[in-house]
Amino acid sequence: MLTSRTFVKRTRAGAVVKVVREHYLRDDIACGAAACRLCTPAGSGSAPGLEARPSGPASSLCPGPHFLLPDTNLLLHQVSASGTEGRVVETYIEQKRGETSNDRNDRAIRVAVKWYNEHLKKTEDAEKIEVIFLTNDNTNKEKALEEGITAYTCEEYIKSLTANPELVDRLACVSDEGKEIEGGKIIFPEHIPLSKLQQGIKSGIYLQGTYRANRENYLEATVWVHGDAEENKEIIVQGLKHLNRAIHEDVVAVELLAKDEWVAPSSVVLQDDGQNEEDIENEEEKENILKTSVSKDMLRPTGRVVGIIKRNWRPYCGMLSKSQIKEARRHLFTPADRRIPRIRIETRQADTLEGQRIIVAIDGWPRNSRYPNGHFVKNLGSAGDKETETEVLLLEHDVPHQAFSQAVLSFLPKMPWSITEEDMKHREDLRHLTVCSVDPPGCTDIDDALHCREIGNGNLEVGVHIADVSHFIRPGNALDEESVKRGTTVYLCEKRIDMVPELLSSNLCSLRSNVDRLAFSCIWEMNHKAEILKTRFTKSIINSKASLTYAEAQMRIDSATMNDDITLSLRGLNKLAKILKKKRIENGALTLASPEVRFHMDSETHDPIDLQTKELKETNSMVEEFMLLANISVAQKIYDEFPEFALLRKHPAPPPSNYDILVKAAKSKNLEIKTDSAKALAESLDKAESPTFPYLNTLLRILTTRCMMQAVYFCSGMDNDFHHYGLASPIYTHFTSPIRRYADIIVHRLLAVAIGADSTYPELTDKHKLAEMCKNLNYRHKMAQYAQRASVAFHTQLFFKTKGVVNEDAYILFVRKNAIVVLIPKYGLEGTVFFEEKDKPTPKLEYNSEVPSLTVEDTIFHVFDKVKVNIMLDDSNIQHQKMRMVLVEPKVRPKIPRTILSFINVKNHHVVKWKFNPEEKT
């Protein structure tokens, strides 16, 4: 049957156009029930059918077998509760005059239920199968009952399920009951409806942007405005009412405030720890803390959230803060991510959930509620447990970590695997070369190997051989899709979340010694001045002669007695690498520092037993130099071949204002840092030495690292700034680690096409698809980095748990309004020390943003000052165990006869809390 929809619409130019759309109504869709004999089995491509005999959990409301047909809204809100699936048949009804489209949909669903019921009656089954309509809309339910349809609200139905009572907890609380209990006090202004928001955005009254809550201050957030407008890119929102129920990552509309209401980003650290929900007055007090007077030039555009365009809620990990009232069913849930507000949930299992890590989903945030409402989803395990904590940090950082599915594993090569004739096509046999690999100890995914030899004409041949992962991962199959989803391998302290299955990562792709392996080689002819004369790329087959650690390689180079092929090759490489590095630095490449630590694990318990900062050897830089060179050569090649869709990596130059803090800090030590170009910066960093303070240079480099922008992948057809600031290279990409980075696999495929060793496929030559992939890869890399840091933080805590109190030297990295951030070089540990306390007279604090410095009573703190702190683990709060630091030297003497103790949090700024330590008296 064919119907036409006709409507008249106005074009942008004002003309009126009549639009006629056809609509084909079908009579060939099967109902999906396996027991049904009326419908022909569903054709190809249709959804999987319903079971022959519905075997859902027994319900006291409807004892017979039944199908559930949930309302669309219901399904949207309750995915975590419903297990039975319903399929709405396209039962067409004409839209009635004056009926809204929502009502029409409701009616369509009711018609569908009716049709299903009548249809299933026709099947001559002994037992009648009933179709039950689930809806939360009361009028809809009434109408359904009028029409003779069995209908229940979701709550009624779930409560009637006799088998699993815990499902009730998972019901999203969308019922209206909540309001009555809260009391009528309205806290938040109303959200403006979407249609008005869009009008407002178009006319420029409102700005659309992504809402990013402040990690350190729950009353402040930044909105990153979408679009390319130069001014008002970043809008500050301050105060509970102005934040107006927006949650981190939401897309919101903001209205700019008048200029005289603008504020500066506060440097105060505030944590929402009020147990009582009603103390709104208290909040206002706190808000006033933010509005301390600041100089005019610090003021930034300030606004308030007027409406939500798109919520970006996800299930959140965290812990239950059990209500003090006994037998209470409403509790507050504290998410692990401090940018997410606390969530009120209703549960009867509070006792079992206490002390456990749980997942909670947000359902809504009414105007009269201080906190959003949510429901319990899943229990992960007890807090502090290593397994649970790892699970939490993987979930919180959105790292896909499930075991590889059967579908993915089915695309792995069959074992025993060997190289066939077919594989040798387009491949060069390089097994005769003395290739070796140099990696950190214990590395099982070796993705690069090197060789260097003299060739007849007095020149050197240098080769970088990279595991040929793209040979095993073919585009478009399940294995490829899983890898692109993961994007990168994530290295945690005690385990590795692989991007590709272990068979590939640790065996077939890993360039282990004395086995034939497939590789992608980049071979240069160089003279002894390390100038490239010729570059060649080829797929190859190699046989590594040795897999060395950095230390072993260093030993071979240094030892005078060893003169075998491998050692000679290493010496040649090392000599060239030094020249390459010198050239690179002359070009203005930066050498930056960031404290990195390595844990020594107990082999049995996997508990950290020692902690040391990573040490860099000459051989580290040797391997790095050649990897950089290969990456640059490949980037040039793929860009020449595919100017529109080469996957490259860029590192934008930071805006000059980023360096303010560095320049000021250096000035306080009478040093000058030039930041007008990367080269100037590198040179002034080299000169910035203090004979009395050898660690200063490293500190400056750490601080410089913090000023940098993030390097990102991008598609060459979508951008025109290719420069890599940190490496001072006009073009760069990632080619050398395909086992652990997906970007490298794409680069391998592009290069293979460029040299005619492989063919393209549709997605590879689509720049929009590539740009989308880059976005995902950048996101995954960022999250992997955060997960890594969180893992280090957690292991640091485990380490200090057994250590007790440790006294260490520390340096001040940043000075804040009410705190200082210190770095302990020995452990690469960073934390914040506070000088304020709730409900107690605060010490006299004087913050000078120009120097910057902080004066606490009579002690002045500058950036880079050396202090002494006591470090210990504070586990009074299980959710956020934290490193506590006590300032030992210099002693701050407040007017009251007690020492202020301060608590610090580890790197990711998980927790901020402060209190007096009554034990320690002056």
């Binding site: 064919l2 036409s4 156009v17 009549k18 639009v19 006629v20 759309r21 056809e22 609509h23 084909y24 109504l25 079908r26 491509g45 249709s46 959804a47 396209e90 393209t760 496929y761 549709p762 030559t765």
Partner: protein, 257 residues
């Protein structure tokens, strides 16, 4: 129309069709009394009228007439009320907007391959096609309608000419699907569009026009879908031709259902 889903999760297109399903086709021959041959063709909401005059003596300058075969003059136009993308700023001057001009050129190419021109030396055949309503696939419909009108006029052909179109939908999840017979909304989505004309008797391609880039791996399914569309259309049109009375006036016949 960014973000338009060409194929739903259940595997249906926006207008309820399956990917390989054509729109409803209706056709009639001999709709114009004064033309030597004429045809009216509907493919969904795309409606096209074709008229054939000739073969007759070459008009105008005789020098452009080839001595050994017929001269084919094709003219395409679009009614001012046709809608679709055929709107133009100036009122039509003898039907000369750019798209219609392009269509006429392509049509002539197809017909030169289909008409046995050497049977009509030093003569001229005029083919006029007008789009009455545009809803996607105007080129294909024009070719098919012209083919019908030529048959109605009794011009010798290698075989009946039909044209079909196909595109490609790339759902966010799942493999790409070839779509037969694109509607205007689907064409506007910006994906690739392939128009193929076949001389059905010989099974050869008389036209193959692809707009937008398409990877060669994906060409085969799209080409297959377009050819399948041609076969489907041919089956329907063949029935229409056989049902029409070659000597009588068909205007009184009921619509074939």
């Amino acid at each position: 129309m960014a973000g338009l889903e060409l194929v739903s999760d259940a595997g249906f297109r926006a207008d309820g069709r399956r990917p390989d399903e054509l729109r409803k086709v209706r056709a009639r021959l001999g709709v114009l009394a004064r033309a030597d041959g004429s045809a009216y063709l509907e493919q969904g909401n795309t409606k096209v009228l074709a008229a054939v005059y000739g073969p007759h003596e070459v008009r105008g300058s005789r020098s452009k007439a080839p001595p050994d075969r017929a001269l084919l003059c094709c003219r395409c136009s679009s009614a001012p009320f046709a809608g679709g993308g055929e709107r133009r700023r100036r009122p039509p001057q003898g039907g000369g907007d750019r798209r219609s001009g392009e269509r006429a050129l392509l049509l002539r190419g197809v017909l030169e391959g289909a008409v046995l021109g050497q049977l009509y030396p030093r003569s001229q055949i005029d083919v006029h096609v007008q789009v009455l309503q545009a809803d996607g696939g105007e080129l294909g419909a024009s070719v098919s309608a012209a083919g019908l009108a030529l048959q109605d006029a009794g011009v010798a052909l290698r075989g009946p000419v039909v044209a079909g179109s196909a595109g490609l939908a790339e759902p966010p999840a799942g493999p790409p699907v070839a779509l037969s017979d694109l509607s205007a909304a689907e064409e506007a989505a910006g994906g690739p569009r392939l128009v193929v004309a076949t001389v059905a008797g010989s099974g050869q391609l008389a036209l193959c026009q692809l707009s937008a880039r398409l990877h060669q791996e994906r060409l085969r399914p799209v080409l297959d879908a377009a050819q399948a569309a041609c076969r489907g259309l041919h089956a329907v049109l063949d029935g229409v031709v056989r049902a029409s009375d070659p000597l009588g006036d068909t205007r009184t016949l009921p619509w074939p259902q």
